[in-house]
């Protein structure tokens, strides 16, 4: 594993993530506003809401892809300000995007270690990269040859390899942006079960996940808590046991209708 990642410490006394009064504007339009929430270790949160609710912007801020205009983020008890995705990854926040998961023209093992390649002297240690990638993928139940190009994998395999990459670097927070939108029903279920197994069993108590999805039913199959966003704000934050997916769906429809009637 890369030396920069070994420094990662896990202070599990407080929440894993604390977001305080986060704002992000695109021009004059608020994409995220007044967002505050906490996330404990081992939680799987479903972040749902209508199109343009601010879900993707929120996770992209947490992943260092965007900088917030206002607000504070505390991760593992420490205030953090990420200038790039690299800095977020170094702290233990990994994100998997629906369409940006892996680079098709590169072998899987090179994808897995991208930006954190192990080195031997001045050169990258390809032998270790291949061997470790093979071992890790196998341990996660993914049966693919790491020498294959990522473009040769199916959609589901790509998502799983991308998620496995995040876990391989011992991410404490896994952000999944629409992980199932491009997948078949079977692949979507396999991918979500894979995440659930990893968070609940393999990385028990060490990692949490936020899953952004349009499909509330998909998220419900694994989430322990649901956050609903509307117009950049978090408007509902409840344990998934307390509301059924149908009720959450109806809630989103209701606020969307109210919004439409106010126009």
């Amino acid at each position: 594993m890369s030396d920069s990642l070994e420094r990662r410490n896990t202070d599990s006394s407080g929440p894993l993530l604390r977001v305080k009064d986060l704002h992000k504007y695109y021009g004059n339009t608020p994409a995220v506003r007044e967002v505050s929430f906490e996330l404990g270790y081992g939680e799987i949160v479903g972040l749902v809401g209508d199109n343009g609710a601010g879900k993707s912007t929120l996770v992209k801020i947490l992943a260092g892809y965007h900088k917030p205009d206002k607000g504070e983020i505390y991760f593992k008890g420490k205030k953090v300000e990420f200038n790039s995705p690299y800095e977020a990854r170094r702290e233990g926040i990994e994100i998997v995007y629906q369409d940006l998961a892996l680079i098709s023209t590169m072998p899987i093992y090179r994808n897995i270690y991208l930006a954190f390649e192990p080195k031997r002297g001045i050169f990258i240690d390809k032998k270790t990269m291949k061997e470790e990638a093979r071992k890790f993928l196998k341990s996660m139940g993914i049966d693919v040859d790491p020498n294959k190009l990522a473009g040769e994998l199916s959609g589901g395999q790509r998502q799983m390899v991308a998620i496995a990459r995040a876990l391989m670097f011992q991410a404490n927070l896994l952000l999944l942006d629409e992980p199932t939108s491009a997948l078949s029903v079977y692949e979507a279920r396999e991918t979500l079960n894979f995440v659930s197994r990893a968070i609940k069993d393999t990385y028990r108590g060490r990692a949490s996940a936020i899953i952004v999805s349009h499909n509330i039913h998909h998220v419900y199959s694994v989430a322990t808590r649901i956050l609903v966003m509307d117009q950049g704000k978090i408007v509902l934050d409840i344990p998934s046991k307390e509301m059924s997916p149908i009720e959450v769906e109806e809630y989103i429809v209701k606020i969307t209708k109210e919004k439409a009637s106010q126009r």
Binding site: S84, Y86, T105
Partner: protein, 324 residues
């Protein structure tokens, strides 16, 4: 059995994009040699090397840039501009300082190209084409259209850039070999090389996992320009003169060498081995056609046909293999 062999060969060609040019190179050597036995004499090999190395050195860096998803149409004008700066500043600064100043100017041009592409988000085709026109104008204003001449043949230091070797070869062969090894190791065995592949494969995906894609491109634009400037100076030293129009075909020739060597114009794919063999093939075609008694005009037609055939074949093979 036949189907099995065909499938195996098809897989091999998909995995090793430089392989097709290697086979073409060997076939051409055999064909040209069978037409004219003079083709493999030391003098002909030296001529092949002369054609292959000058363009080949620049093509190595253009290959890196292509793999990172960009290209540079200003390399030809940087080649002349650097030679011009070198020649014009020698009386003022002496040859050594003039050499440094010329390379710094080349680097600055590359840096400007890089900033225009990465920060101002202009496509590299437009940015570097604009830069090429700008430099061409400047070159004509300064030189008045006349050649720039330099003669440092009496100073041993400059042999390292343009001296002759036995059998009609010159030191460019050594520089080409050194730069080939250097770029090969950078591309295949360093973090930077991995990031070059990633940046061209998908800039957004690479950035999302932490690759500084802007820096990768900026470094490559600067390196390509500095090397083009260096080769311009090497050419000026060797021929003792450089013409203002000398660089006009260069950007397209080096681009052709890189693409024939297996680099994709869409980024993410390519190899230094392919570019090396491709540069030698271009040299072999040039010398081979002359020795075969074919009028020299056919050289461009031959290269053009080869370029189209290989580019089309490689893109088809890649698309069959992966979903882009």
């Amino acid at each position: 059995m036949v189907v099995h062999v065909a499938l195996h060969l098809s897989k091999l060609f998909r995995e090793k994009r430089g392989l097709s040019i290697f086979i073409i190179f060997v076939v051409l050597i055999i064909v040209f040699y069978s037409i004219n036995k003079l083709f493999l004499t030391p003098r002909s090999v030296a001529d092949i090397a002369l054609v292959a190395t000058q363009d080949g050195i620049i093509a190595l860096f253009v290959t890196l840039l292509l793999i990172a998803g960009e290209f540079d149409l200003s390399v030809g004008e940087v080649f002349v501009f650097s030679g011009m700066i070198f020649g014009y500043t020698i009386p003022l600064l002496g040859p050594y300082l003039a050499f440094v100043v010329a390379l710094l100017c080349s680097g600055l041009i590359g840096f400007t190209n890089g900033i225009i592409v990465t920060r101002l988000r202009a496509p590299s085709f437009i940015a570097t084409l604009g830069m090429a026109f700008f430099l061409e104008g400047l070159i004509f204003v300064v030189t008045g259209g006349f050649e720039v001449t330099v003669n440092l043949s009496k100073i041993p230091f400059w042999y390292t850039l343009s001296g002759d070797l036995p059998d009609g070869l010159n030191v460019w062969v050594i520089w080409f070999a050194l730069f080939s090894i250097l770029t090969y190791f950078i591309l295949e065995h360093t973090r930077f090389g991995n990031h070059v592949f990633a940046t061209g494969g998908s800039q957004n995906s690479a950035y999302a996992v932490g690759v500084n894609t802007r820096r990768v491109k900026l470094v490559l634009f600067v390196a390509t320009s500095v090397i083009s400037g260096l080769v311009g100076i090497m050419s000026l030293l060797y021929y003792t003169a450089i013409s203002p129009v000398e660089g006009q075909d260069l950007p397209l020739i080096v681009l052709a060498i890189a693409v024939i060597g297996g680099s994709s114009l869409f980024g993410g794919v390519g190899s230094i081995e392919g570019t090396v063999v491709s540069a030698l093939t271009i040299g072999a075609i040039y010398v081979g056609l002359v020795l075969a008694g074919v009028p020299s005009y056919y050289y461009y037609s031959f290269v053009g046909a080869l370029l189209i055939a290989i580019a089309v074949a490689n893109e088809k093979l890649l698309k069959r293999k992966i979903q882009i």
